[in-house]
């Protein structure tokens, strides 16, 4: 057994890695494809939910997910087990998604706000997909670093420290960026007449 001859239970206790994950990781390192398949199937829905925030196009999203799992596979020898495996996957996913946005760069035009039926829509009744499209349309006007900070904060529920850890950024810089990004987002929403379009009463 690796990591100082500890038992799998000890590893789980000290590092937060699930016992089943750890066994599958070790088996994958020994070339067992089925073990990695189990890891992929265990976490693909969580990674899909995350990568969906980077691209709502199913083909692009699938490609990003594939990048995450392939990159994770080849980086497995470097996985130290400091935390749950899914956290490590999400860190890779964040970087993959961020790189994708940067590659899109200038080609990425702001998305239209979409068709909102103001009469029918109250916050609690709104279709999640419609809500998601509107938020994405607003966020798409921000630069990739600003967009990333708000996306992780809003959709992943990440704290400033977690965002800083995932990207290797300074926490104070992330706080400042989050503050400025929110202000920019408010200005974008105002310019595009979001509140008037929604016509929400509460």
């Amino acid at each position: 057994m690796q990591i100082g001859m500890q038992s799998a239970t000890d590893i789980e206790y000290y590092t937060g890695v699930e016992d089943t994950d750890w066994r599958d990781i070790q088996a994958s390192l020994d070339g067992d494809g089925e073990s990695y398949e189990r890891l992929v199937r265990r976490y693909e829905s969580q990674i899909a939910a995350m990568m969906w925030r980077f691209s709502r196009r199913p083909d692009q999203c699938a490609e990003l997910m594939q990048d995450v799992f392939v990159q994770a596979y080849f980086s497995l020898p470097g996985f130290r087990g400091d935390g749950p495996f899914v956290h490590w996957l999400k860190r890779i996913g964040t970087r993959v998604g961020y790189r994708f946005w940067k590659q899109q760069g200038r080609r990425n035009k702001p998305l239209p706000l979409g068709d909102i039926d103001p009469a029918a829509e109250e916050p609690e009744a709104m279709d999640p997909s419609t809500a998601s499209k509107i938020v994405e349309a607003l966020l798409s006007e921000l630069k990739p670093p600003d967009r990333l900070v708000l996306t992780l904060q809003y959709f992943e529920g990440c704290s400033m420290k977690e965002i800083a850890d995932r990207m290797g950024w300074n926490e104070a810089m992330v706080k400042m960026r989050a503050y400025r990004s929110r202000n920019k987002l408010r200005a974008i929403a105002r310019r595009r007449g979001l509140v008037e379009k929604l016509q929400w009463t509460n």
Partner: protein, 85 residues
């Protein structure tokens, strides 16, 4: 209603969305079927080779350093001969 407040309500709804993506497990496995993850990273191999090369260079350097005459001896040798006369 403030714009940010509206956005936060939208985000709360948007979080319930299910991504329209199919399973990608088969595609990934097909991609990596013939390439198991390396046990030793490329960087580690490079570090080992660099350390071996550095050891050889150090050994050769030490050999020549010990074999070379002391430059101060070269400087004082004529004076010592002069004193003898």
């Amino acid at each position: 209603m403030d714009e940010l407040e509206a956005i936060e309500k939208l985000v709360t709804r948007a979080r319930r969305e299910t991504p329209a993506v199919n399973s990608i497990a088969d595609g990934i496995l097909a991609q990596m079927r013939h390439s198991p993850p390396p046990r030793i990273a490329g960087l580690s191999v490079f570090a080992i080779v660099s350390a071996a090369a550095a050891t050889i260079v150090m050994a050769i350097g030490a050999y020549f350093w010990l074999a070379s005459p002391d430059p101060l001896t070269e400087l004082y040798a004529p004076l010592q001969v002069g004193l003898l006369w």
